[in-house]
Symmetry: C2
Subunit: 502 residues, 2 copies
């Protein structure tokens, strides 16, 4: 079994089948095969939207402005937020399995495309099962429906694997030429079927002991990370890396999240969040024709000025979403590989970003004098803080293995290191500052809060200048105290072609 | 001026700045530049979602099931559909301008990224101005607001152009080395500012003659196509191609819609349409806990069986959206270049695809016995028919210039030609067939309609077998009647490396 590692770990020979990404590749074995790139882009778009769109029912929970955020409303909100979070996490797990599956399968034909669409259809149905679960926590049917869906998804994915291994020209070239193809097949099947097996047990337990079902559901989300963590600990304690053939396989797949697909998924989430904001504006803030005629004597502009704070809230929220995307974009420009931990942190960051439409709804609804204004601003601050602090954590995680994961510019001492730090630290600091302002002042207008949000982009530009001046000052001081050659060596390291990129 | 064509039309030297897509490229002139790929993917996602999401207010128009589709409801629906279509078309125009802009600008830095986000923010605000316009058609403020937005968008894009030409290392390499840079700058500015100038006139006219404003708005959408058409006719009449320096420039940009971005935009639209469906299911079809207790004695499954037709409608609609994406995907696998006409047809196809959530809402709302059941099925059929017939038209348009636009496999006589024809013809035929069924039978259950939708994917698989048998039969007859060499020559043409791909 040990020799299996060699053909896999070695440098990849260029796959001879692939003429070019996204073009038909040729006729072999009967059908037209094609690179799976666009299928994956479409799947990423679908999955990211479905993960995020479940915030809409949360954001649209009817709360009367005069009403305090009382217990029944809080409970309703909590239920819906739970649905949103469960959907988000489970869809992310399904997405990660999908990424892994299509790292093994590199070309698709019509049958695979249709099977993949069937899989997507079932995944988009999952949010409904969560809605049932959250509305009827004591009835086993919701969890049973979810588990059945997960089992069917697993079945479809298993069919995809079987089909692809039955038509080996669809597979990754390294697996195609490997002698251990059968072993790889069962290994990938094992990974694919882990979630569905857990769901199967959840379905069985749902009929006589529901809490156990929820434990299984939790396991689906956290099992890969727990396993990864225990592996990491055992390798630390034993002092040696695990060298099983299984590991040599996962070494080949040691980039469990391809950077491109992480970016595509992230873009989808940010795009849908930014768009949900304007949807709310269009549905809620167009005045009624009759009202304008009677209350404002036909003066549309007067009627619209009522909504002023909402527009401010919209622009403030859009700027925040846009800039958080911008920070993520800047960060991933310098990331060369996404590790599993970085993927997890990214997911957590996105889960909070997905909560921004809720924060927007709250602040815009309570914009006009209300007892809850300060609470809603605090919710916004907390959401933004966690969304941005997890982005910061991605960078920290990347710095731990900076040789593998980061472009030399962004490593310690790299040219962009300081500026990247400043960019990533800006939003956590601003949101924390705003949060403390709400605590100290006891009264902070939402208008001021949104104005703060709109001002932040200028802070980015000022930051750039500020960081450059600070770096120049440091360099100047350094060059006075350190010998000259040291500095030029560091500069050379930054300018030399990066070794980790090939 | 004539020599400007040469450096532009010649084969492109590899741009020395570009290390790799999506990676930081280097420090020049102060900031970090990077390939714009991800910025464009994010912009495509934002624009496609914003174009499509405005179908939600249409689909969520409150119609009581017992109520006939009477005049006032019809008027409300018509208003909202107008908003949706205007948004869709205008956003597509803005997207096309964006595509053109970022064909000239190949690298981005922080300032460009932030300017682009500002541009996106203004574009996502446009649907709101349309909502105002549609609700208050006789008040000039809506159209004035829209026009102001368009002018500001034009201004921001002009700033982007000025900034990029001021930092020439951001530009496309061919323009970078050209001597006529200033000419190109004014040419691209002219293209970018065409829409905003028309909007400016629309804003002025809005105060004293509103119909004229609407004419200007219509011009924004159709002007490029009208101009293209007149150019085409004059070149036909004169019998010669226009050889102005302007044309030599647009020859370089003669792929006004890059195939990748057309695909990305299309994927976004299909993904959001598929996802809006489940959102409706989650919001409308979770039974109320109290109702279940009182009406169904706590039997959740009995309560859910009420919604059976809705689930069927969901799966039917999802299958339709998924397969229409699949057809588009199959088609664009064989497309090597998207012409302007193909882009227009694609937009029209997408506008109808975007209407599918409305069709879903109608059929699922009137699923239980209603006077309007047959009308809603007809609406669905018409939507699907137009969505798919425009896809067919894309192919027809591509076949006119097949040497430039199609992969040899899909051309006349190519191996995939017959199957592509069958794939593209399937949905127009099926929807037409269903439409005529409704006319003849006078009564057709929505259930049967949705079952038909779900059966279609199997038709695709059967189609493949059917086409292959037919082709084999034809080939067999041909080989009997024709000399052998003729057939092998044709086969060789199909298997030889495609000349249009490089």
């Amino acid at each position: 079994m040990a020799e299996a590692g060699d053909p896999v770990a070695g440098p990849a020979p260029p796959p001879p089948l692939l003429l070019g990404r996204g073009r038909p590749v040729g006729e072999l074995g009967g059908g037209t095969q094609a690179s799976s790139q666009r299928l994956l882009a479409y799947s990423d778009a679908l999955l990211s939207i479905i993960a995020t769109v479940m915030i809409l029912p949360v954001a649209h929970t009817k709360i009367h402005p005069d009403q305090e955020l009382n217990e029944s409303v809080q409970q309703l909100l909590a239920t819906r937020i739970a649905v949103y979070l469960m959907t988000f996490l489970i869809v992310t797990v399904a997405w990660a399995a999908h990424v892994r599956l299509f790292q093994v399968i590199e070309l698709i034909d019509d049958v695979l495309a249709l099977l993949n669409l069937a899989c997507m259809m079932l995944i988009t149905f999952l949010p409904y099962t969560f809605s049932l679960m959250a509305s009827f926590p004591e009835v086993p049917f919701g969890i049973f429906l979810f588990s059945s869906c997960a089992v069917v998804i697993g079945f479809v994915q298993a069919v995809i694997v079987m089909y692809a291994f039955h038509h080996p020209y669809l597979l990754n070239h390294q697996i195609q030429v490997s002698e251990n193809q059968a072993f790889y097949k069962y290994h990938i099947l094992k990974i694919i079927l882990r979630g569905p097996t857990l769901s199967f047990f959840a379905a069985i337990f749902s009929f006589f002991f529901i809490p156990m079902s929820y434990v299984f559901l939790g396991l689906i989300i956290f099992f890969p990370h727990i396993r990864h963590l225990t592996n990491w600990f055992t390798s630390r304690i034993d002092g040696r890396e695990q060298e099983l053939p299984l590991e040599s396989f996962t070494f080949y797949l040691n980039e469990p999240l391809s950077k491109e697909r992480v970016e595509a998924f992230t873009d989808g989430v940010y795009a849908i969040v930014a768009t949900l904001l304007i949807l709310d504006i269009c549905e809620d803030n167009v005045p009624d024709a009759k009202e304008v005629r009677e209350k404002y004597q036909g003066h549309l502009i007067n009627a619209l000025s009522e909504y002023g704070p909402n527009f401010l809230a919209y622009f403030g929220s859009f700027v925040t979403v846009g800039l958080l995307w911008f920070v993520h974009h800047s960060l991933f420009l310098h990331v060369t590989k996404a590790t599993r931990l970085m993927g997890l942190l990214n997911t957590l960051s996105l889960a909070f970003i997905g909560g921004l439409p809720l924060a927007y709804q709250l602040t815009s609804k309570f914009a006009k004098k209300s007892h809850n204004e300060i609470e809603t601003i605090q919710v916004s601050c907390v959401t933004i803080f966690f969304g941005s602090i997890f982005q910061f954590a991605i960078w920290t995680a990347a710095l731990f293995y900076e040789r593998e994961t980061l472009h030399p510019y962004a490593r310690y001492g790299g040219k962009e290191h300081a500026f990247m730090f400043a960019k990533l630290a800006l939003y956590p600091c601003v949101s924390l500052f705003a949060f403390f302002l709400t605590c100290i002042l006891g009264e902070l207008s939402a208008t001021i809060f949104h104005l703060m949000q709109i001002i932040v982009p200028f802070a980015f530009l000022v930051l750039r200048i500020f960081v450059r001046i600070a770096l120049m000052a440091i360099k100047h001081i350094m060059s006075l105290s350190r010998p000259r050659e040291n500095v030029s060596e560091e500069e050379e390291a930054c300018l030399s072609p990066p070794e980790t990129l090939s």
